[in-house]
Amino acid sequence: MRQWVVAEFMSRVAERVSTAGGGFAAQLSRRRPEAWDDLTVEPLDNAFPFVEPAPGFVESLRAQLLEAAVMVPADVVATSSMATRRALYGIAAVGSIASAAVIAVVVFRSRASAQRPAA
């Protein structure tokens, strides 16, 4: 009895899933993305007339752009300053390691001479 109930339930679920699947597929096919571009509100094409800039502005800006000094790109500046900074950090690191090594040698020698028994 219980097995029959379970089987019927599963059959209903399967039926619903397959029906729902078909519905989703139908919905998706209606909403194909490539079709969305065709959706238009006709008056929109004419709703926003082209607004021309003042001729004086166009000429003046053109002259400014043609005469503007060549600008150094910001990222080039950033790259070069970063490279300089890295070189300085490198030199500082090497200097630190070298001075630490010198100190270590001095300490080691002084300890070695202190531990050496007097002849």
Binding site: P33, T40, V41, L44, P53, F57, L66, A68
Partner: protein, 186 residues
């Protein structure tokens, strides 16, 4: 023969030749101005931001990658960022401007028809104004600037699929808005 060459080729040459940049400027200045005008609502701000767009383009030409991105989309992307900063700095609510636009009347239209179409246009502008900022921008890029979906996706920094989906939702909400206002009048 420089005049006949595509933008992308000129953009590379313009890195070393300012006159070539002048040709690119002539090709795009009016569209950029028009776009900025509709997004700021002021001729003075449109001039200012258009000038900044081209100066920024000039100083960043070396960053422009020819492959993949149309030059016009790259230029509109600069304008888009400047307008976004302008809105943030001035804390102004996003609004599509229709002020100061000269209404072009059709010669064959009767005065009654002309008044009716002007009224329809006004309603449409009002409905567009009520849309969210990104939706207004999308409509301007699509219907004013006539950019392709690919170009719009570059300008808005979204995938083409996302742009199409947003356009679909925008037009649907615009239709709903218009039919709601029509029902309200009746």
């Amino acid at each position: 023969m420089v005049n006949g060459e595509p933008d992308e080729v000129l953009a590379v040459r313009a890195r070393d030749d300012r006159d070539v940049f002048g040709i690119l400027y002539e090709r795009h200045v009016r569209r950029v101005y028009n776009y900025v005008y509709y997004r700021t609502g002021s001729a003075a701000d449109a001039e200012d931001l258009t000038a900044r767009t081209f100066f920024q383009a000039l100083s960043n030409l070396h960053r422009y990658q020819v492959q993949g991105v149309p030059f016009s989309a790259w230029l509109f992307r600069i304008a888009h960022n400047l307008v976004a900063n302008w809105h943030r700095d001035t804390s102004r609510h996003y609004a599509t401007s229709t002020d100061g636009i000269v209404e072009v009347a059709d010669d064959e239209e009767s005065p009654h028809d002309s008044a009716e179409s002007a009224e329809e246009r006004r309603e449409l502008h009002e409905a567009v104004r009520r849309l969210a900022g990104d939706r207004q921008q999308l409509l301007i890029l699509k219907y004013v600037e006539q950019l392709s979906t690919e170009e719009i996706s570059v300008v808005m920094g979204r995938s083409e699929g996302a742009v199409k989906a947003l356009l679909h939702r925008t037009i649907k909400s615009l239709r709903d808005e218009l039919s709601r206002s029509n029902l309200g009048e009746k």
